[in-house]
Symmetry: C2
Subunit: 479 residues, 2 copies
């Protein structure tokens, strides 16, 4: 009977092989991560999804503070005239901003845009706060909502409003600003590996793909299970572009007025979409243990038998006290239903405890990622589970890494590139010209994802035009 229920249950989710986009939508809706709202393009992040975001925030915020950053909060609204001061920036963002024109019944004398990103408003404050070299560096991060009016939307990946963090720093020299840009990219990369279990590729964006107003944009890119790339976070070196546009100057030790050099870097709820598409399977979510709202679910077996629920509750209390995120489900659903439910929700470890287990002072652990069953002693169970969670994290990371490697191809001619981007990443040489980049996109549907640092060239000519090429570039279709 449990078998039948199981089958019934999983038929609600499309299989990844058949229809990956539908699988994604099924998973996020059925696991109560999000819901659509009456507001076009805006999603509701439900408690289960929001808890994942809280855990991401907590891990990231600790890293930002450890690298000397403080949080602050800047206004949601940006006057039109302020947005327009940096020419490239406004050109990049103006088509997708929401405009506030009225406050109550009154028409505003100047339109306000709802921030699509906060360089402009933050730079206007830095201009006031920074006077002397003593005021530098300024290292601030903001956790906030931003709005970018999107024609087509997909929960977590592309929505008109989303939640993110945006770091904004100002420095005395371009070297320091470049170091900061690279430091935060490394914070992101380490976070992706060690928290999300996602083996991202890092590198520099092409001029076409870089942030509007940046000198250089660095990115981390991940491969989803459909072979497409997802940009998971970016770190921008802004040079003195914004400092000049917004008049951020400082008096140097030598008494000279100098422009500052600024950076910005951001990651968003989009990362949750990445986690789902990198790790999930046909049964639903598989959450990395460090961001799983429930790390272990205790399911009493034959719970009507005397002592079972009591023992389950006792285990719950001791594991919770040990700092694990644990729940017990003693509802009147069948054990089979519960197995499916928590598998779908991506809970890393299931703990089964029944009369026989109690008799033998043991529990059965079932890993979500491999479905492996382990019979272990109740003694020291918290340590056993912690070790298991670490192992699950490593396995998930390694599996994703193998998948990426298996689906990454070195292309020496354009046919190979076109074929390769159908199911994964392609590494190829590129001349660096915009025309060539556009043509590659038109013909193959793939964009330049990044140019990794210090990568060995695999030839000396462009994969498309045959002109001299110096930079190895990752190409992929992208979200």
């Amino acid at each position: 009977m449990a078998k039948k229920k199981n089958e019934e249950f999983v038929t609600h989710i499309a299989s990844r092989a058949e229809d990956f986009p539908q699988w994604y939508t099924d998973v996020i809706l059925k696991t109560d991560m999000i819901d659509y709202s009456v507001v076009k393009g805006c999603m509701v992040i439900k408690p289960y999804g929001y808890r994942v975001w809280e855990l991401i925030q907590s891990e990231m915020d600790a890293r930002f503070k450890a690298t000397g950053h403080e949080n602050a909060y800047f206004p949601l609204f940006i006057p039109e005239s302020l947005l327009k001061k940096e020419a490239e920036h406004v050109e990049g963002f103006a088509p997708e901003v929401a405009w506030v024109t009225h406050g109550g019944d009154e028409e505003l004398s100047e339109r306000l845009c709802v921030r699509p990103t906060s360089e402009t408003i933050i730079c206007s404050m830095y201009s006031k706060w920074i006077q002397s070299y003593r005021d530098l560096p300024v290292l601030i991060n903001q956790w906030a909502n931003v709005v970018r009016w999107e024609k087509s939307t997909r929960p977590f990946l592309r929505t008109s409003e989303f939640l993110w963090q945006e770091g904004h720093t100002a420095h005395a020299t371009s070297e320091e600003a470049r170091e900061e840009t690279e430091r935060m990219l490394e914070v992101y990369r380490e976070f992706a590996y060690n928290v999300l279990a996602i083996p991202v590729i890092v590198g520099q964006k092409s001029d076409k793909e870089k942030f509007a107003g940046a000198v250089a944009t660095y990115t981390m890119e991940a491969m989803m299970q459909d072979g497409k790339a997802l940009q998971m976070g970016t770190s921008h070196y802004l040079g003195d572009h914004f400092a000049k546009a917004y008049d951020i100057q400082y008096l140097s030790r030598e008494g000279k007025l100098e422009p500052c050099f600024t950076t910005s870097w951001g990651t968003s709820t989009r990362m949750i979409g990445g986690v789902i598409m990198v790790h999930g399977d046909d049964r639903g979510l598989i959450l990395p243990p460090k961001i799983a709202p429930i790390q272990a679910i205790i399911i009493p077996i034959a719970q009507h038998k005397p002592g079972v629920i009591e023992k389950a509750d006792e285990l719950f209390a001791s594991l919770k006290a040990a700092g694990l995120r644990v729940r017990v489900d003693d509802s009147d659903q069948s054990a089979g239903w519960k197995f499916n439910q928590y598998e779908m929700k991506g809970v890393p470890v299931r703990i089964e405890i029944g009369p026989k287990d109690i008799e033998n002072n043991q529990v059965v652990l079932v890993r979500r990622d491999t479905h492996e069953k382990l019979v272990v002693s109740m003694d020291g169970l918290d340590v056993t589970i912690r070790t298991l969670l670490d192992d699950i994290h490593s396995s998930m990371l390694n599996k994703a890494l193998s998948y990426r490697e298996e689906n990454t191809l070195d292309a020496h001619d354009f046919d190979a590139l076109q074929e390769g981007v159908k199911h994964g990443f392609v590494r190829a040489m590129w001349c660096g010209e915009r025309e060539c980049e556009d043509a590659i996109k038109t013909k193959s549907g793939a964009t330049t994802r990044c140019m990794p640092f210090d990568a060995e060239p695999i030839s000396n000519v462009c994969v498309h035009c045959g002109k001299p090429a110096k930079k190895l570039t990752y190409f992929a279709k992208a979200y």
Copy 2:
């Protein structure tokens, strides 16, 4: 010389007695809590102010989770038609909402308001999520920014955008919803006492002062040092008003379709303004230890002498490891300058350590609240400081309580009320009529703040009109 510097320093802050509003502005600007922005009515919360908010959030969030609530996130925008469904609600909020009319270059088919509060958008989702009694209760909180277009603004107290939390719950019965409303009011009260060291008064709002669309609004009110009241948080019992307007129904155990009963409750960055105005003195901020970004500041004395900075750093490391929020200031400013700086910033404890102290294995502790000096052993310093911080909290709470009591008057006639509200709170009997409430406000400038639960009547006639009166009411001028 230290004396002179000291004097120089504090002259920058207006005295409370002379000009309380100016003192407030001086304190928040000079301590780097906030700054004004180019956007009218919107403030920037600087790192020092934002850290206070983070500590408030952390304390509150733990309380919400302990009472069974989960966090979620709903859209920033609310379509005009949705806002309008609850008649009283829209009447209350429409005059102060910001309207988005354009996305990029396109005019929207329907205006969107920037949320002034989220009952409407959340209720529209609850209508979808709640089908059966099994789905109840729904206990959700949201941390978010909200916008209320204000004509006149004052940082933290009244700004066009502010940060807050809003709880929204749905229940099967009115009893349960009323219990929830009271439970969260009690969470707020306990938080105010035990975290902010603010002895709030709790009670019910008059019909005039209640939330637009509520059946009953409960509030916590605090007395500022100028005798005015600040509403610090509210909890609303919404009855089935919103459930009916937004169609939130459930199928009962008996198979009958029933409306839900809902609540909402909120507190905001406004509380920080309250903390400043309850506890501060003419030297600046006095922060309650539980929300102080720096709980203890270590200041090396004669720091050029060998071993002083090393010992200060050693103390810093050990106190930090013990979980205290501690800093050491070994900058080249004078000790006197540093004393003033951290007094102004409201740091609860100063730790002075110089050559003589090191010789005697001691440090000098100076309390921010009483300026009391204590010479204590370096051994077990973390425990000594923790105990001291607890004591500072209690002292601050008691001082504020005494102040409130000294400035609260029982009025038996209207002259006494008018006189009393010039410098504090007045307790008086009120008939409960709106006309009388309006007349009292016009004549005295005071509003009804709240009707405390179970308060003993002090007479049986209204202090203003002389008609029968049953409810003891607090009157005060208010922010």
